[in-house]
Each structure stands twice: as C-alpha cells, then as structure tokens.
Subunit: 245 residues, 2 copies
Amino acid sequence: MSASGSDLTPLVRKLESIASLSVEERQAVESMPATVRLLDARQDIVRDKDQPAHCCLVLSGWTCRYKLLNQGKRQIFSFHVPGDLPDLQSLHLRVMDHSLATVTACRLAFIPHESMRELTIQFPGLGAALWRDTLVDAAIFREWMIGIGRKTAFGRIAHQFCEMYLKLEAVGLAAAHRCELPITQVDIGDALGLSNVHVNRVLMDMRSQGLITLRGRALVIEDWRALCAAGEFDPAYLHLEPGAS
Amino acid sequence: MSASGSDLTPLVRKLESIASLSVEERQAVESMPATVRLLDARQDIVRDKDQPAHCCLVLSGWTCRYKLLNQGKRQIFSFHVPGDLPDLQSLHLRVMDHSLATVTACRLAFIPHESMRELTIQFPGLGAALWRDTLVDAAIFREWMIGIGRKTAFGRIAHQFCEMYLKLEAVGLAAAHRCELPITQVDIGDALGLSNVHVNRVLMDMRSQGLITLRGRALVIEDWRALCAAGEFDPAYLHLEPGAS
DNA sequence: CGTCGTATTGAATGGGTTCAAGTAGCGTGG
DNA sequence: CCACGCTACTTGAACCCATTCAATACGACG
C-alpha cells in the first residue's frame, strides 16, 4: 500500500535528532514515495546477495541484520527499532553482504533508492545526516567487536542491555530504566557470540545479583550504574546529541 | 609541509577504483589543500575523544585504528594501507570514539574537513564515493565480528590473511600471493581477540600444514584455496569492483 | 656485544561450549 | 476448559579451545 504523508514521520523525527531540518527539507522528506508493508515476526526483508532497489524504514517493531555461516551458525550484527533505516547502506553498496529480517511483527516503509539519492543531492544537509547515521552504525559495530573480542559473557550482556535501553529511550520507547525486550536468549547469544545455554546462566546470575528483572519481554534495569560498570559501558560511541533527554 | 599536486594521487586512484571521475572532479580532488607529515612507527595520529579538524590520508606505510580498555587490553578495529582515509568518519562525527596510530613509519597527508565537505557538496558523485568507502569500512567490521564471534583462532587468522592480501593487491602492493606483513603477532591477537601466545601456535600450525610461509615481514600464501577454505573467506563483503585485477 | 622487543614452547587453568534432559509458558483446537 | 504441541527457558556434567603464567630463543640495532 502507498504511504500517506504521516507515514514518514518517524524518519523526520530521526533526522531531526541528527540535524535541524529546514521547512523545505522536512517537506522533501515527507513527500518521498513510500510503500508500507506489514510483516510477521521472523521474516526476511532483504537477503544476503540481493540487490535491493529500496531502503527499508522501520515504523514499528524490531528488526535485525544477520548472516548465516556454515554449520547453522548465525551472527547478528545489529538490532533496529522504529525510526531506523537498517539497510541504508544498500543505497551505495549494490549487493547485500548480509540479510535483514524482522524480529517481531513489523510495520515497514520502503523508499526507492532513486528518491533517496535525489534527496541527498538536492539537500546536502540531509545527505550528511544520513551519512552520519551509517557512521554511527559503524561505531556500534566497533563497540560490539570490543565486547565479543575482549569482554566476559557477563560484561557483553550487560553492555548490550545498556545500549538497547539508551537506543529505545532516544526514540521515546523506554523510560525509567524499563523497556520491552522482544528478543530471545538465542538472539542475544547470536549477537554476542555466546551459546544460548551460557546466556541463560549469565541472565540468572544478573537476576540473583539484583542488576535486572526480566520476565517475559519486560526488562527492568534495577541498578543502572552497576550494569554500566559491569559492561564497561560508555555511551560516547552512540554519538547521541546532548539534551535529547 | 604543504602538499604538491601529486601528493594526493593515491586518493585520486582510490576514488577512481570506486567511481569514475570527471576531469573537473579529478582536478578538484588534486587541488585540495593538504599538509604532509612523516611519522615514526607506533605513534598516535588522532586519539580517542579528540575532535580533529582534518582527515588523514595514508600515502605510505600502515596505520591501525584501536581502542584501549581497562587492564591494558587493546582492540584493533582495522588496518589501513596507502590510499585509505582511516578517519574519514570524523568528517561527520565530531568526537573520536577510538584512536588512530601508525603501525610502521608513515607518510600522511592531512586534509581540512572544510575542504572535504565543500568537495562532497560541489561534487555529489565524489560525496557518494566517499560515503561508499565508509560503508565498505562498516562491512569489514561486520565480517570481523563474525570471525571474533564464531570462528576458531585458525579460521580467524586465515581469514585475516586473505583479506589483507586482497586489500594490498587492490592497491598494487601485492601480487602472486606474496605481500609484506609489517605487524606483530601481538597486533594480530589484538585485532582478532586472541592472545599472542595462541596466535603464535596457530601460525606454527599453518606453516607446518604448508598453508603459508612467514619469515620476518614477508608473508607468502602457499595455498590460497586452502587458506580461503579454512577462513571461510568470501570476498563479497569487500565490494571490490570486478576487473580491478 | 649487550639489550629490548618479538617469537617460541611448555604446563596448568578456566570460561564457555556441547550434549542431554527436563520445565515453563502460551496459543490452538477438540 | 483442558490437552496438546511448540517454543523458549532452565539446569547439570563433561569437555575443549584458548588464556595465563613462566621460561627460553631469536634478532635487529645502537
């Protein structure tokens, strides 16, 4: 189905969190052609080796990027929440080198590459904002590398929870150190290079230490300071604008 | 010291390997102001938390990006060779979230952010090429995440050697499966999340299997196919243009 | 020719995996 | 309304890849 103007509001809000938009820029963003689709949980959106002609914008739900290895192993590279453009990179890299899938049921908007490219050329400020977004993406990859390479399982998971909370808070989907966490322990393991068994043991440990409460999909960070300390979490790498609450 | 026109030739060559340049674009790149500096091995170029006003272009030598953790641990994110812009991201992320240092003695050119930004606005094609470069950067991070998270030490090192060889070959610094490898076993360990002791054992193993020869700084890949297989190496993620030999 | 960084080798230890089994929660349909 | 079946979660025990600690060899360079 085709998008009405208000469908791209999450994108406008996202861009405004990166740069201040002029009236023309805002209108240009909102008037981009977009197709909205609803997907169930655990569906591929774009696959490894595809050559997509659209960018995907998450309107609601969670998505993740991943790659399958031999022997059924899977590495998750990132989780994405409403307002994110999880395959923005496909704008300038023709062939996908990984897959993008839904985690929960999602409402997604698809914007033609052509429109995005015209936008970035006509409004260099918007181009810079989008470029910046992909650079923060890369910064998060680097931080994950540190976790996977150099931290204990406990530290990795603690760090992950801190990061997820701040990302959700930044788009108004979390507050008071509470948020929804619609991913399984297998997902966490696949993201952090751990077995689901060990993820479970660490979560048990965190609970028994009173750091978190996790029942179903409800995550409560009971001791933010201690969790940050355990994960050596410093949010500088997220490059969040100061004052965004 | 100030740069003469020919100093930026490596950048032109790099950009031409990404996109085809018009005469005007080529001239615009070559006429950017640049300061050339010589640095010894193991010197920081830009540090974590700095707010640089220039981009660094590697003219000769190797550099690496890294971050220090507590307890003296270090994670290396990437190695960079002539033609690379290792801190291009600082163009749109004001604060450094990691450091950049020389590995060997280097000849480096520093280009003001201001000039780079003007270039990308005046020539959107060049802007896209540079953006693309940072996207490939991110793709390499993702591939390293897979290695660190999901591969054995043997596979990780094999993959790393394959990647390094192709990167060097792409800029004419390697051929016939031979290249210079001016990094220590500690560096390899810091990049792949391994101890130097274990790196050494794996290298011994690789030699005894006849996969590589490594004497001093001279790496010879004796069995390219087998090394690729061991590292599950598929160069798609490097997004090299076909036909760039 | 000594010295410092790098490489090499051995032995003990440990964090995390793997295999295996059992439990809890939840949507579906009889 | 409860049985069923699926998925996610939980727990135990054995194993292993890689780390750590420690000692030794090499090799470039002043």
